[in-house]
Symmetry: C2
Subunit: 292 residues, 2 copies
């Protein structure tokens, strides 16, 4: 067995961000500064980390960035007012409401309130429909977009390939399956999930296997066809007393045993994760271009 | 080999229409008459036949039915005005613009102009997104809805089944794949298409095989696992000098050689076809209920 190609999301994301920086400079020269607003409700520590790193990346690229921190007691009506103000703000091209909001917030209604032209998360019905319709003016959700970019930049051919997506969420599984089956990609796509019978056998068919279920190290060596490309979207916290933090991050794939079988594989962390923020920046630039 | 169960779309559609008739009577008793408007542009003979049979079915059920026939020279603006008038008409709950329109018409813009609450074809972005989001308030396109209904009424279990959908159109393949993978159905779904490698081997995996490509008799015996359920969505005209009309209708499945292998199969004609109109009536009733 050869050692697999490691699909280094950090390095690919850095390249994407370099392109974004250049495009930002070009827009600035025309008097347009791309602007991203991130709304955070409550004190979830993980969400705070994500929001912080989004703001930092904005600053690095030369974006205008707005961080709106609201108390956990914010009402639905107050939140919708914030969204409407951002819709009307010409300095803002992208709006993101950090998920998950507190339980009393109707997240779907909030997403619907975002101007679809500023919906850089790609969750608004308008953009969901554009994904199905293969309309490139829509925004593709950042994680699936990051997976596709990683495949593309790594020279992995989707055309005619058998892709298996494990997971059918609205955020990753379904949009990724739709992207892979679109005419631009031409893969044969299977969507499998926790209720699928004989998941290992289904996964073993895959030339490109995408794990997006959120179960630590579920995909084992026996699930993977030798030579397959494995994309691990999972980011799970697993208890680990040997770590200072008491936990370590692990994907949905049992990396140590799977990697030797693969032609290419994403690590966790450092695989799909860094791509997500890079694609958010790319979406914000697309919004800034399209909204003019 | 046993003879397969013939999935008799005509008879299942008749049952669905009986339910619709009963529901219509109940709505009429409340003073609500379900109303469907069908807009036909130009003189396409096949379209005329479809529109005629839709109007006839409306009459049989006690719907209010409006057939608007416009000349092939109708402009986009004129057509949009017609759609807007129907959107505003309280007697109309469902609006359908017969496809395909003449080449100078932007069909997507017309679909977008239809009030999504009256979009009984299920092609408006709002309804496409609801399908992805598994929101039952949306309208499911009639042909895929008809396939699902046929499976359900025939007692075919989708839960855990391997379904293969051949075809990735917006009208049939993609929505059907989304319906089959939804939590309500729980199938493992593969979307294959003309660019898939080794289509016969992919199809042979299927417990439920759905052919929706529009190629006469493409699916042969060697493509079908013994005991599979085969749903044939294709309706193709094939030259046949022995017929008075000079042609016969055939599906995407080579029925004669495939049927003996199957546990169940739809004939063409008389399978999925009749289900499509029945589901259009069901969608119109849903609109009449929801729009109140």
């Amino acid at each position: 067995m050869n050692s697999p190609k490691i699909l280094d999301g950090k390095s690919v994301a850095a390249t994407v961000l370099d392109e974004c920086r250049a495009e930002t400079a070009a827009l600035l020269a025309k008097g347009i500064q791309p602007g991203l607003a991130v709304v955070l409700i409550g004190e979830d520590p993980a969400s705070k980390v994500y929001v912080g790193s989004k703001a930092r990346t904005c600053a690095e690229l030369g974006f205008h960035s707005l961080k709106i921190e609201l108390p956990a007691t914010t009402t639905q009506a107050e939140l919708l007012n914030v969204v409407r103000a951002l819709n009307a703000d010409p300095a803002i091209h992208g709006i993101l409401v950090q998920s998950p909001p507190p339980a009393h917030i109707d997240e779907e209604a909030v997403i619907r309130a975002i101007d679809p032209r500023k919906d850089v998360d790609g969750f608004h019905p308008e953009n969901v429909a554009k994904l199905v319709l293969e309309d490139p003016s829509g925004f593709v959700p950042c994680t699936p977009a990051g997976c596709m970019k990683l495949l593309e930049v790594s020279g992995i051919i989707t055309n005619g390939a058998e892709a298996v997506v494990v997971g059918r969420s609205m955020i990753v599984g379904k949009p990724l399956a739709l992207l892979l089956v679109a005419k631009k990609s031409n893969a044969t796509v299977t969507i499998a999930h926790s209720r699928s019978k004989d998941l290992p056998a289904i996964c073993r068919r895959a030339d490109i296997l995408i794990a997006a279920v959120g179960r630590p190290e579920m995909v084992r060596a026996a699930w993977v066809k030798p030579g397959a490309v494995v994309i691990d979207v999972g980011i799970n916290r697993v208890e680990d007393p040997s770590k200072k933090s008491g936990y370590r991050l692990t994907g949905d794939v049992a990396y140590q045993e799977v990697a030797p079988l693969c032609s290419a594989i994403t690590p966790v962390p450092g695989g799909v994760g860094p791509m997500t923020i890079a694609m958010l920046m790319k979406n914000t630039l697309q919004a800034a271009r399209q909204i003019q």
